[in-house]
Amino acid sequence: MSAPDPRAELVSLLPRLRRFAFGLTGDAHVADDLVQAGCLKAIERWHQWQPGTSLASWMFRILQTTWLDDYRSRQRQQTEADSEALEAIAGEDGRRVVEARSDARVVRRVIAELPEEQRVVLMMITVDGLSYKEAAEALGVPMGTVMSRLARARARLADAIGGEGS
């Protein structure tokens, strides 16, 4: 069987790529720009992808490096604005905070506040469902590093949002 068109393969991954990029960038429009740039880059370098390995992992890696190289500096101010919004919410009265706990926007703000290396593994593993091994391979770091980054991300999220139970 001949190989399928890379473009069709990438299109079939778009929902997952958009979700990952949204978590990475914290902004829906920037995320779509990033996904487009990442997919075009992937098509140019398609020969570097090894058939049989996870295309999603490879794409997550491309999105992350593209974000680091080309986009992130432009987004710093946005991130600072988000963190102020988070502080404002955290300062509200207890009842409203409890109501807001399950609010997806609040969770996303907390995630946006995580150090990037933690945010990336959280999006890859907890949100997208990659295994630790796949994430470690995609990021080129040892499994133990993935494990501790993920645990720190989950702990921060638990401490920031979960009140009772801890």
Partner: protein, 304 residues
Amino acid sequence: MRIDDDTLVAYLDAQLGSDAEYEAVEDALAASPALRARLQSLAESGELARKAFDAKLEEAVPPQLIAAIMNAPLPQADTGWAGRQPVSAGGANDVEDAAAGAAPRPATPAPSAPGAQSGATARPAAAGLGARLAAWLGQGFGGAAAFASILTLALGALIGHYLLPPPEAGAPLARQGEPIRNAALAVALQAAPSGLAVDLGDARVEIMASFTGRDGRICREYALSGPASGHEIGIACRDGAAETGWRLAFVAHEPTTAATEGGYGTASDRLHEAVDAFLSEHVDGEPLDAERERTLIERGWSAD
């Protein structure tokens, strides 16, 4: 043994290395209410993170994004896909000439909306794909058929195989008037510019031309070919009631003949004549130009 967050999270994610490690965690949990509480809040944190991004997965993918990817040129690398499969080489080209000459116009209005049954509630990645296709098409395109066909696309398997177990000559893959159910074909109709051949593994689909019909509906002619699927030329028209947004107005099919066995070959004159007859009966006017077509793709084929 001290159980830290790393271990608890790996326990929750079923990523510990050995049975002994699971037993150690479970013994510690049994002995410590505080550890159980910690496990609970770490579990909640994962659930919240997933839920916070769930909606993104179901959201319709912007057609411009799909179009930008489908329009990207493939590199002429000496390894990998492009080297083995020249994009526009091969059999379908002379069909395009014929189709472009006979300016189109569509066809039979299609009746009843098919009930989009949605059954795919299972979590696993594969089951989610059907729902994801629904998301990018922005329609209720769910259920087993969607699930099967998106898998076909994802695995690069033969779309013709899914569409038609080739019987005798002239038997259509889907009947005229039916909605387009094949995910790969639906995506090509939705996002590919005319003239682009999308290789799907063992078959290739090429969108030949787009045109507006007498009834004002927009239609696209496609050619599908592959060693096992044979040749098919179809005309699909926009229909909001169809699950994928496209309904088949006309189709002509012929199986692969001995002469074209093992290759992509070309459709026979007879097939072209059938399409030309349909077009001349239902169409007068020019195909949409590339710019207009691009605008429509970016708009997701919605009216102005």
